[in-house]
Symmetry: C2
Amino acid sequence: MQKIVIPFLLASVACAPLRANPRGLTSAEVLAQAPDYDWEEIPAEDLLLADTPRGRIVIALVPEMAIHTVDNVRKLARAHFYDGLAFIRAQEDYVAQWGDADGTKPIVDAEKTVKAEFSRTPAGLQFYKLPEVDTYAPETGFIRGFPAARGHAEAWLVHCYGMVGVGRDEAADSGSGSELYMVIGHAPRHLDRNVTLIGRVVEGMEIISTLPRGTAEMGFYATPAERTPLERVRIVADLPESERPRYRTLRSDSSSFADLVESRRNRRDPWTKHPAGKVDVCNVPKATQRID
Amino acid sequence: MQKIVIPFLLASVACAPLRANPRGLTSAEVLAQAPDYDWEEIPAEDLLLADTPRGRIVIALVPEMAIHTVDNVRKLARAHFYDGLAFIRAQEDYVAQWGDADGTKPIVDAEKTVKAEFSRTPAGLQFYKLPEVDTYAPETGFIRGFPAARGHAEAWLVHCYGMVGVGRDEAADSGSGSELYMVIGHAPRHLDRNVTLIGRVVEGMEIISTLPRGTAEMGFYATPAERTPLERVRIVADLPESERPRYRTLRSDSSSFADLVESRRNRRDPWTKHPAGKVDVCNVPKATQRID
């Protein structure tokens, strides 16, 4: 580790998000050293688990940002709507998407459409604000560890790598959660506030990102054989307690989270010759990990 | 296409980068409609072609941004240094890298190290400047269609998806081009000015992005069997003329390039409810295509 000499006075007045990583920790070290009280367990009701022949995918849902859509996704999972569907699309440097290839599977015990939840009022949301300017939004930061943005009268989740959104037709209110897509390339921030984002992949992202790219328009698979099936999709709360995978996320109001941001903003290792001094909201390492 | 009514006066005074996509073209339409004189052929000397069992990869080199390193990469290719090496690393949401797994292959007829070319003087470079603010750099834009940034006294290529850089050890001057990495996730802009970038993948990116992720530290493959070999790596100028693939890039001083930027900045289709009004340098679609 490179030694950084910080004069006592400067160190004592520096505040969290701007303290220039004085301890020189890497992101991995910050996560490994974060005390238990800096973590928050993700409720089992907010974990969507998808089994595929390529492995297991786990998505953390963020109900406070899309309460009706998340609720409908739970209903769809519980009605076994997703079981037997497949990844039908993987578009290079953009998104992969699962859904009903033929669009004929009936939706039972869930809504067929849900009102758009592209953004919500910021009132009552704890927002960890980054000091950096952002190309797209007045402010960016984190809501419970999930990348987000905020304007004068609204807040919204943003399209970082691994974020999960709801496919829809032309009408804003035409999505239901029956088709979900995951970002597999550079953050397509132009989609922000155009789709309802419901969460982020917390495990199995490498399964999704390495899906063969579809050769038809928009990355759809040209033939059914190319699709990767969804064997079973469940809400973790519905599993027997002994089978439930548990996940936790670093609280964005913790000092460890500030350290995590700073570890990416200013890498303090001998390899790094020009610490960036800045970090964009999609470049902060994911702060979620499996418990046990 | 959504119809946008532009009052005559407004349309007549609007200038290129801020004209809000009045014709409502998609990126694909801009590229399809761009006249021949808006394109520039990439010299065969600046095309690096790698054959793998998974298909062909083509990298466009940008010698004006890293003249010594690009020159050494050409020498390495011509000395057949890369032939028989392999992709030895694929780290999720970060980079894939090819190189000599054992580090024992002798470098012959090329330099073993090349001075760092992390940035250069902006003098004499044609720079298409984006008006948007950027989190990391004072200015961002394009140099001959390649994503770049500029400060008071220097210009540099930036780490967008698909960009190609030179692996190095701790010392800034320790890279040679013998190990090359490609960005396969969200733009790791904190690497800007910490490594020499030499170009961008213009074909076969989906081969690289879907490489199985390595399970050892930093995404290195734990076993040799996981590696994807490089069968042959050549400079296109060295192929018989009839076998040379040809590529062209949209000139960043063309009105088509301004249209391309604008097509992403303000998508004008009925699906898009909130055109972003902004675009970041890594979100402008790649403006390179194969000729023929």
